[in-house]
């Protein structure tokens, strides 16, 4: 863990004192903390370069545009995409999935066509599809989740058909840390349908090396704020020929070729999908985050995540009276949903806060799956690069003393 032992120093938030304790931040599944390099980069842009992108013919605008556009190149190599035009900026995963749902349903689907999701999807990967399903009269099927929290791939196979036009699956579960076998899913989708395959990478991309060409998928979406970047920025990666074939969903400045009073024509990708002033400072901040992760090396980030997962399994699965929702597969994320019979998740998280431990309580935007499990709410611990084994120990002892008080 050498590379990671000093890492908290890069993150100013860990100077904070919380209720007399040091901060044990274990809510990175909700949002990550930011290193100085990301904060400083955005600062510098605002202080010394800021100008709106693309249309300027003066120094400031040309500098900012260059910084902004170069982030596409950074993301291209981060994801091993084949073209930087395949990177589209949105304000987050949620906007990305709304865009894809609307654009695909409008262009490539018709009444009675099917969308396949899984039972464990985040609301961001359910509701946009429900909305377009209602509008365009489409059907949604949910792939079952096994008792070990893995996806039932036989169930997926049996649901795939010539009617399936979209399969959209989480790349890493934000509750159980489950990592589906994306290549296997891709094979099943290709051999049993002509469907597109979308991966919701909101939790996956921050934690693991993703090679979009190797995976063979069609679209990947993720948020900057969960991977050391700022809020207000997200990404759609898509195969260029697919992006070319889709129509924009949002209209405005900078996405057009020509506008007449009766009609408009679109700019080439990626611009046709980026209507209006983009969150260019946020994109540049995301670029700094990608640099930071690149310097660590994503394989090191994976290794660190695996170590914390193994340690979490050893320590957390063992606490008396605590039920854990966590993938039983060999490889998974370092995310643990937990609940204690007779103790409300909100009470538990409020008590944990008095120990400086920040975890989330609630349904974590996977309400249907909580309902399936027959529980209202869980607390969730997600570790990230700045966490260490001590943090897991602190969580454990805080849980034990809190549960005692709440019983």
């Amino acid at each position: 863990m050498s590379k990671f032992s000093e890492i908290k120093k890069d993150f100013p938030i860990f100077e904070r004192n919380i209720n007399g304790n040091k901060l044990t931040y274990l809510d990175s599944g909700a949002t990550s903390q930011k290193p100085n390099s990301v904060i400083d980069k955005m600062n510098d842009i605002y202080k010394f370069n800021n100008a709106n992108v693309h249309r300027g013919t003066y120094v400031l605008s040309s500098e900012t545009t260059q910084e902004y556009e170069s982030v596409r190149n950074k993301l291209q190599s981060f994801l091993n995409a084949s073209d930087s035009d395949e990177i589209i900026f949105t304000k987050g995963t949620t906007e990305a999935l709304n865009f894809l749902a609307n654009s695909i349903a409008n262009k490539l689907m018709g009444e009675g066509d099917e969308i396949i999701l899984s039972e464990i999807e985040h609301h961001a990967n359910i509701i946009p599809w429900q909305m377009v399903a209602e509008k365009y009269k489409l059907n949604i099927n949910y792939v079952k989740v096994n008792d070990d929290f893995s996806l039932d791939l036989d169930d997926l196979s049996s649901k795939l058909s010539s009617k399936t036009k979209v399969v959209s699956i989480v790349g890493e579960s934000n509750l159980s840390g489950m990592l589906p076998d994306i290549k296997e899913i891709n094979n099943l989708v290709r051999s049993n349908s002509d469907s597109l395959l979308i991966i919701d990478g909101a939790q996956l991309v921050p934690h693991r090396k993703v090679d979009v060409q190797d995976l063979g998928i069609d679209f990947l979406v993720f948020s900057g704020h969960k991977m050391l970047g700022p809020t207000g920025i997200g990404v759609v990666w898509g195969k260029k020929e697919l992006l070319n074939s889709l129509d924009p969903v949002y209209g405005g400045g900078d996405m057009i070729e020509e506008v007449h009073y009766d009609k408009a024509t679109w700019a080439p990708v990626p611009h046709k999908f980026e209507a209006g002033t983009p969150p260019y400072v946020e994109a540049i901040g995301l670029g700094a985050a990608v640099d930071y992760l690149g310097n660590l090396g994503m394989s090191e980030v994976e290794k660190h995540s695996d170590e914390l997962r193994e340690y979490g399994r050893k320590v957390l699965l063992d606490i008396d009276g605590v039920n854990v929702i966590h993938s039983e597969q060999d490889i998974a994320g370092c995310t643990f949903g937990m609940y204690v019979d007779g103790v409300h998740a909100t009470d538990l998280s409020v008590m944990l806060d008095t120990h400086g431990v920040a975890v989330r309580a609630g349904h974590h935007c996977v309400q249907p799956f909580h309902r399936k499990l027959g529980i209202d709410a869980t607390i969730r611990s997600t570790a990230y690069i700045y966490n260490d084994k001590e943090d897991i120990d602190t969580l454990k002892s805080a849980i034990i003393s809190s549960v005692e008080m709440l019983r």
């Binding site: 007399g20 409300h344 909100t346 008095t354 309580a361 709440l406």
Partner: protein, 137 residues
């Protein structure tokens, strides 16, 4: 005791505790003492919307005064709603409506009384005042 007096009384008690943890512990004890809520009144129309846990508040009128019976499936929320209910119980509807006490400011109760909690204690108060308002109208 007036609303103001009850608030001051509770403030005194809460001030004794040196940190959030012990304050919450006090609320937990209050919650455990409150076992008068009939489970059959855990009805949707008595539910306080927008709390992170389920919270119920049932008003009752006796001798031209309002009383509130309360419950929650979470302990700290239950302690909080018990405390709030006792502040506004045994009071005239007009006094409740016109009371301008800001509990968020009066009590230092960490995250559970922070103005940031979307709706929690704020919703409890709003519900109480609405009951009182409807009674006057």
């Amino acid at each position: 005791m007036s609303i103001r007096e009850k608030v001051d009384e509770y403030k005194k008690i809460l001030d004794i505790f040196p940190n959030d943890q012990e304050k919450y512990q006090y609320l937990i004890e209050k919650a455990k003492e409150n076992n008068s809520f009939p489970p059959e009144l855990r009805l949707d129309n008595f539910k306080v919307n927008g709390c992170q846990s389920q919270v119920w508040l049932v008003p009752e009128e006796k001798n031209e005064k309002l009383f509130f019976n309360s419950d929650s499936d979470a302990l700290i929320s239950k302690g909080l709603v018990t405390l709030i209910a006792s502040i506004y119980s045994d009071e005239k509807a007009e006094d409740i409506v016109t009371s301008e006490i800001d509990l968020m400011e009066e009590f230092e109760l960490g995250v559970i009384l922070s103005p940031a909690r979307r709706n929690g204690a704020y919703s409890m108060l709003k519900t109480i005042k609405e009951y009182a308002k409807n009674l006057i109208a």
